[in-house]
Assembly symmetry: C2
Homo-oligomer: 513 residues x 2
């Protein structure tokens, strides 16, 4: 078999199922191999930011790594921003990047570039194929590294290693188990929690699923702690059976306020809160002076196991305390704002929905509205590289064809990767995207005010306004093959959402704020 | 003044005029400085590939470097593909990349990444600011490096160095003169041309302007040589007063055919022809065995000076031989194909137009049609990273507001950076984009056939077809604020082009092939 066939066969044998792709000439042998092998479904995207963001969303939801297939350095580069988010979210996916034939690389052809230098910042592991015979083995190493590091791994595949015969399917090692937290550390933390004046748990990563949140609630009840969720988690579960959790705020002064008065902060599957940006007079790590920070488990550790062990050591009850029923939000009426959009989504979302929140300045409204919503999973912007939401929604819908996917989407961010709509249409995905069309980069207006610019001049204003012309999202959606509708009141939005959910398939709703 | 103001003031004093931008929080001080200083016009784009491609197109046409302003590693990464094209085209532009405040960098905030590693592959020079006081000086060094290396230069600007007071406008050195070719080398080449059995000149870079092409024609007439232009030049001039020139073909076997029988090939402003991709059984450098290659001037040398000196040494006549009048193409009629689109553009283009050719599989038809067109400049895809055409057209139109800009645009490539249309609308640019809508990556179908796949399976077919759904380019254009029309015959296309040229401003014509 060809080297390319050995790679895809090995991937399929390892349980991988989907390859998000935007291939070119150097990837033709891998493209052929989609037909010569079975088990890997290729999904085309019109732009590489969609490829990598979809792979991130797929992997977060599917629990098995996605493949990406990208074209040399420049094609890969277009996908870096969403791989940055995947790296921050600890998503294990595997990038296959086509490279010139090994004997052609020295010629410095127009598309040649230093792919390794581009790949390193967003990859836990970067390697190159060395022959058709070894390509599958090298692929297995990439997959193993991705699962071990919980990060994207990148294999650069020379075209001749892919097109040549002599490929050999490789053995696929079991994914390594995440490191367990030492029992001594569990005991230490249990002891300090028992003696702490006013402790809090800060959960991240795997701790934010239903089991993790219930376990944390048991611990909290036992020791009198409050529970926080990290800012921008890769994946957070909510539902009637899952204890609600406060999120760490965005701006550092708000983080300091939220943590004010806590004697101790135990980190479970996350790090010390860090300011998203550095601001004059505010610290990089916004933790009050009086709050001692205690790491229990890193994001890559066996976080759920650590929580279970801590619950036992802390003498927690076997079940989480019963939470009072949480009312849903009030139905929005009249002119829209971010809270109204969040309420409308929460009120209409089907049971088991996946909500991809890239609302940026509007997205913060969703968690409050969602506490009364049916069980759902929220995916957020882990690395701050905007243009992630619509691609992630695409990948999540492919991972979970039986669940409705809803995009809570800022307009500025949507404009980076609107091409995702085409893949949603082509693959007939059940994704409803709600664009919060405030026609500006509102977060930048806020940042200008923070910097003391209350009345921006024409230059600064032109950098924050998405007007002149206003984007027509219904036309953009139609252009990419997705039906779109524009709404400007709560009533219209509720109606549009109900219609969209009643008709599975891609929809776009432009909510004019 | 703030560090940011010192940088922009220094840029303006150096004659720079435009900054293409997609800023974020770390760039707020530079955004403010657009208003606090004078001389630099900020131009917003919705996606960074538009920013960098526009900067490339602007710089190719304006003759002074553009600035870009990009947001940290991920924002920069989105612009890498078009910077790859700029590097290959030897375009001297200056990237300003915002970075976290110096004291916040160690915190590894979510948007932190290794910007240097991302920037190096597409930059001749990468540096970082060290303080507000030195930022302008460091900027001047970046600009100087860009002009010296004829490549993008990248300055990573820490937010606190930009927002802090203490900035000092820096002296701007004269751009360095390109190195002159040694007189001895000129004499050697003149001698070998005089004695060569069947010589050819291969021109690239600066040799492809009117003066260069006329000088080359004088030399060719004197020594009995043929003149070729490099494949994919950054900028090529055509017109009634400019001798026509053959382009080096795309596929290596066609290059071997084109060069067959030439005894000597003199390189002026370009390198030995290189195969765009490596193919089994074909060489990386497709030059026939019997053809001796003689470098005269590198792309960064004083190429025009070398040509003038060679003309003198070769005893060339003072004026280029009179070329026979070249008839324009026949007006296309009925169903469209690539040649019909090329003919329609050539027949209707205003005098002095700038034609940005990213037609990919269709674009090869333009040069033949254009030989009879009014004087114009053609910009091409120098580095093979598609998604360059619409951004370049945007930048070229800002550089040359009095010239009509025409995009000869493949649909697959257009889909990467369609967001450029919004900037064309916002800046009211006179750009007419003709989308060759063949609804496939036709170049990849050709590559599959070359690889021996005559009947691709469903997987491979799904990777090359842009169907299911077909893109509606008129809707996409409308969504971004540009009027669009769909045509499917030569008559309709001619009519649409004439209407577009009669109404300066952005237009999109979807030509269904």
């Amino acid at each position: 078999m060809k080297g390319s066939e050995s790679v895809l066969s090995t991937a399929a044998a390892a349980g991988m199922r989907v390859c998000f792709a935007n291939p070119g000439t150097t990837e033709m042998a891998l493209v052929e191999a989609f037909d010569a092998t079975t088990g890997i479904r290729p999904v085309l995207a019109l732009a590489e930011g969609v490829v990598t963001g979809a792979a991130d969303g797929y992997t977060r939801m599917a629990g098995v790594p996605a493949l990406t297939l990208l074209h040399l350095g420049p094609g890969f580069a277009n996908g870096i921003a969403n791989l940055h988010n995947a790296r921050r979210g600890r998503t294990p996916l595997v990038n296959l990047i086509g490279e010139h034939a090994s004997w052609h690389q020295a010629a410095d052809a127009p598309l040649a570039s230093d792919i390794d230098s581009l790949a390193a910042p967003v990859s836990g592991w970067v390697g190159r194929t060395t022959s058709a015979a070894r390509a599958a083995e090298e692929f297995a190493a990439a997959r193993q590294a991705a699962l071990r590091d919980r990060m994207p791994a990148t294999l650069i595949c020379a075209a001749d290693h892919m097109w040549s015969d002599g490929g050999v399917e490789a053995a696929v090692p079991e994914p390594p188990a995440p490191p367990a937290v030492a029992p001594e550390r569990i005991e230490e933390v249990a002891k300090l929690l028992a003696g702490a004046a006013r402790p809090a748990l800060l959960l991240g990563g795997d701790a934010l699923d239903g089991e993790g949140l219930r376990t944390a609630a048991r611990i909290a009840a036992a020791v009198g702690a409050e529970v926080f969720a990290e800012r921008s988690p890769a994946r957070l579960e909510r539902g009637p059976d899952i204890p609600a959790v406060r999120s760490v705020p965005y701006f550092p002064e708000d983080v300091l306020d939220a943590l004010d008065g806590f004697s101790d902060l135990v980190l479970v599957g996350t790090g010390t809160p860090v300011a998203f940006f550095g601001y004059q007079g505010l610290p990089s790590f916004p933790v009050p002076d009086g709050t001692a920070v205690h790491p229990l488990a890193d994001k890559g550790d066996d976080v759920r196991g650590a929580l279970r062990a801590l619950a036992e050591a802390a003498g927690a009850a076997a079940t989480a305390p019963t939470a009072p029923p949480r009312p849903g939000p009030t139905a929005p009426s009249g002119a829209l704002n971010a809270s109204a959009v969040a309420a409308a989504i929460a009120l209409t979302q089907p049971d088991g929905a996946i909500v991809v929140n890239e609302g940026v300045s509007s997205g913060g409204a969703y968690p409050a509205a969602a506490t009364g919503a049916p069980a759902h999973t929220e995916l957020t912007l882990t690395g701050g590289a905007i243009g992630s939401g619509m691609p992630m929604a695409t990948g999540a819908a492919i991972a979970c064809p039986d669940r409705a996917v809803i995009g809570f989407q800022a307009d500025g961010s949507a404009a980076y990767t609107a091409q995702a709509l085409w893949t949603q249409a082509r693959e007939e995905l059940d994704v409803t995207t709600v664009i919060c069309a405030n026609q500006r980069y509102r977060i930048l207006e806020a940042e200008l005010r923070r910097a003391g610019v209350d009345e921006p001049g024409p230059g600064a204003t032109s950098m924050t306004r998405l007007a002149g012309p206003v984007l027509d999202w219904t036309a953009i959606a139609r252009g990419f093959g997705v039906p779109g509708v524009r709404v400007s009141t709560g009533e219209e939005l509720l109606d549009a959402l109900r219609r969209a959910h009643a008709d599975p398939g891609p929809h776009l709703i432009e909510a004019v704020l």
